[in-house]
Symmetry: C2
Subunit: 212 residues, 2 copies
């Protein structure tokens, strides 16, 4: 069995697939985007593939700790252990771990390498467009939120309440993602997905108002 398959099997074991908005299939979609953008941008595909397969293995720990653990930090730590077991050399491990640690991009964890930027972009692209819309509503259903609230108070936290709607997620986060993308091919895809998402929520508001 090839190394990538062995690592894939190991990664899948660490997934809690009870929530469809952040499951193993998210990793597979991000993997598809990474292959596509990686080829265009001339990335080191071995580093990129392994990093992508492992990028969310810390997610279950974050969920169990109700967000007190950062899944990117935890994932980087777990990945280092797994890659040492598989006998990868130190330089490769460091490059892979950098991608995983920075894919969330909070605080000082900035993606620096080409592969880290591509993983970051691909992970964010899966939050916008039709996929992003679907994931936002699916997540709202999982936490018991309602369908829509056009007049949500964005200054107050709504986490895991009825007000934690897809539209709120769009206003607070999803509509800003386009501006955070690093790579050229990522930006091209982000523009298209962004525009469709804007059209969707505009239409949703007009339908709810009974105009369309």
């Amino acid at each position: 069995m090839e190394l990538i398959e062995q690592i894939t099997n190991r990664a899948k074991e660490l997934f809690d697939d009870s929530k469809g908005s952040h499951d193993w299939e998210h990793t597979l979609r991000v993997y598809g985007l990474c292959l596509h953008i990686g080829e265009k941008e001339g990335a080191d595909m071995e580093i990129l593939k392994i990093a992508t397969i492992l990028h969310d293995i810390g997610r279950a720990c974050q969920d169990k700790a109700h967000g007190e653990v950062c899944h990117a930090e935890k994932g980087a730590e777990l990945a280092e252990g797994i890659l040492l077991e598989f006998g990868l050399d130190r330089e490769k491990i460091d490059r892979i771990v950098h991608c995983i640690r920075t894919h969330r991009f909070r605080g000082s964890n900035i993606p620096v390498s080409k592969e880290a930027k591509i993983l970051f972009d691909s992970d964010k692209l899966d939050s916008i467009g039709a996929v992003g819309i679907g994931r936002a509503f699916l997540f709202a259903g999982e936490v018991g939120a309602k369908l829509h609230n056009k007049n949500a108070d964005l200054s107050k936290s709504a986490e895991y309440t009825k007000e934690d709607t897809a539209y709120r997620e769009y206003l607070v986060k999803l509509r800003t993602i386009r501006d955070k993308i690093f790579t050229n091919e990522g930006k091209r895809i982000a523009e298209e997905r962004h525009d469709f998402m804007v059209e969707f929520f505009d239409r949703l508001n007009r339908e709810v108002d009974g105009v369309l």
Copy 2:
């Protein structure tokens, strides 16, 4: 307080708002559509308004009975009792109850009156378009389904499982709704909402394949 307000307050008490895909706000959206279509089609607005406000009051019973009770039948029965309490005359009650009993349109419960057709159309229109897409994913999240499965086996039931995806709902039900609409104005709105929904799921498939 006007009669419609009193009936509205009574109806709201019968709602279980724990599920966002079929909550009181669905009734409010259907109400908006009924006002719009009712004006265009020259409906008896008193009959239509009261029927719309009460159309889903049997929903909580259906959910509690895990689908063994039909919410349209149960709603018709509950509505009759409420309208007798409010002292409406027999002829009005019969016309309102007919709308509620037939809004789901299963078996022999066919909408015959203009108002029943408008309520049926408005209820169905809330299942398609951007609102319909949002509701389908929200429901999938509520029952723990996954985001997407392009290759779902439609011959097998998937109710309340991980395979109960929004896309499956679209293939099995939502894409057929346009052809069931009765009124002219309803058909006009259904065409637009249908086309947007087709575009959405086509885009979702292509994004998941990594093409867009």
